[in-house]
Amino acid sequence: MSTASQGAGAEPEPLLAVRGLRVVLGGRHILHGVDLDVAPAGVTALLGRNGAGKTTTVRGVLGLVPRTGSVRFRGEETAGLATHALVRRGIGYAPEDRGVFAGLTVAENLRLAERPGAGAPDYPLVHELFPELKQRARQLAGTLSGGQQQMVAIGRTLLNGNRLIIADEPTKGLAPRVVTEVAQVLERAAQAVPVLLVEQNLALVRRLATSCVVLADGRTAHRGPAADLLADAEATRLLLGVGTARGTAPTAAPDSPHTTAPATAAGHNRPDSPEGPTVPPRPAGSPAPEEADA
């Protein structure tokens, strides 16, 4: 297992340090000991096949499921903290299902994320990144498109001057154009706040992530610089079950040794189906890989 540090210079203390995280749900052992570090800057990608325990790891870190093991956030052990108390120490969380309150308006969804007594909410930033949320302030969140709901979810994480943003598959099921938009926002957010990103879209990981942690069967299987892993087609195939990026790539880095074409449609080419580094044919009407870069 390699270390999570990358780049030259002294290894800074991780912002979030997870050691031996175990979760048992309904008598089943979901996590058997996950170790991960989130560096104090940049994007750390949490990768793994479906069912590897990525979402459970995130939920375990936040205390949303009962867990054992050590979770240190900004140097403080959080084992005994309730979820809300941990989050108030500076974590923005955009969950896998987006966690948007369908019966509340967009404005109410955002207002809920305000933290009274912890500084003014940064609405200018959220509205600058997502002008649509301002226009749709009075619309019920349940009537938004998936992409708009994801904007609400990410907007909530950016409102509070958080020290860490945890985004669980923020591009899942979104249209290619929206994936690009979400990626740009995450890229910009990551300049100011470290991000722990659960993501199956390897093209997106390639674009955003500095380091990565790979889970397999509820354990940490690999830690290291993201670029190193993705440059190693064999390791990528072994660890993630794919040699190529899934779905609609927002950016297929042209300099990459195995630049990938997007799969037929979002979600169809799940990493669970080990197709190897083959490039599936692109049906008419689907976007070209480079389109999103424009």
Binding site: L62, L64, A82, T83, H84, A85, V87, R88, I91, Y93, P95, G99, F101, A102, G103, L104, E108, R111, L112, A113, R115, P116, R156, N160
Partner: protein, 295 residues
Amino acid sequence: MSTVVLLAVTGLGLGALYFLVASGLSLIFGLMDVLNFAHGALLSIGAYGSWWAASGHVPGAGFSGAGFVLAVAFGTAVGTLAAVVLELALIRPLYERPREQVLATVGVGLAVPALLSAIWGSDARPFPGPHALSGTFGLLGARIPVNRLVLVAAALVVLAALRLFLGRTRHGLVVRAGVEDRAMVTALGIDVRRAFTLVFAIGGAAAALGGALGGLYYGSVDPGQGTSLLIFAFVVVVMGGMGSVAGAALAAAGVGLVQQFANYYAASGLGDLAVVVLLAVLLLLRPSGLTGRLA
């Protein structure tokens, strides 16, 4: 015609009582997934609290004029306090164990009436109410007891206050969000347990107010009143949609009216059966309740 008017107003008065119990019950279930079988006990505590205060135990309180208002306020306050104690002492420690939680509320629901019987006897205690509220007035040829109007007015005030609370305050926002997805509320950094206690307090206050005004409606208080009202309040909650205050209001009016009319025109006692039939029909046609949404 006059009979129809009398039945309608009486039905609405009864519906108002159901609403006062059901509104809190519905919010508690919607937010916390707690089936609070002790809610009828809170009503009884409100009823006996008011009766006890009005019987000369609280200075200034009585069965007439401003003293009656004070007695009702006292009973409501005692019921609210009891609800908060119930949540903190019994419900909160059992959040991870829903079965034990339900059993605990059933236990309190049985113990409180037993306690009231032990202290003040199992017979009904007269609850005269102020002179101004014990008369009747004419409406379309019917003589309507004034206390029916008091109940309806109280229910409307509670409905308006609840809607303002849910729609206009941050605590109300937290409650509405919590009804949808409690875990996500905590993941946004909000201590949802405070909302639990608040909702229990609000529900307890409404139920205790219902108990005090129920004394007015029935002309007496007895230890079993809360339990019998609770059954219909549960029907109202299910019909109105769990967690929906507006739905509870609609359903409460419907249940009260159906009960009164069926008891009068069919056979006495058939009203209760009619309510169950109504519930079954509604559940088959609209499984999510009358409105299918909150507030």
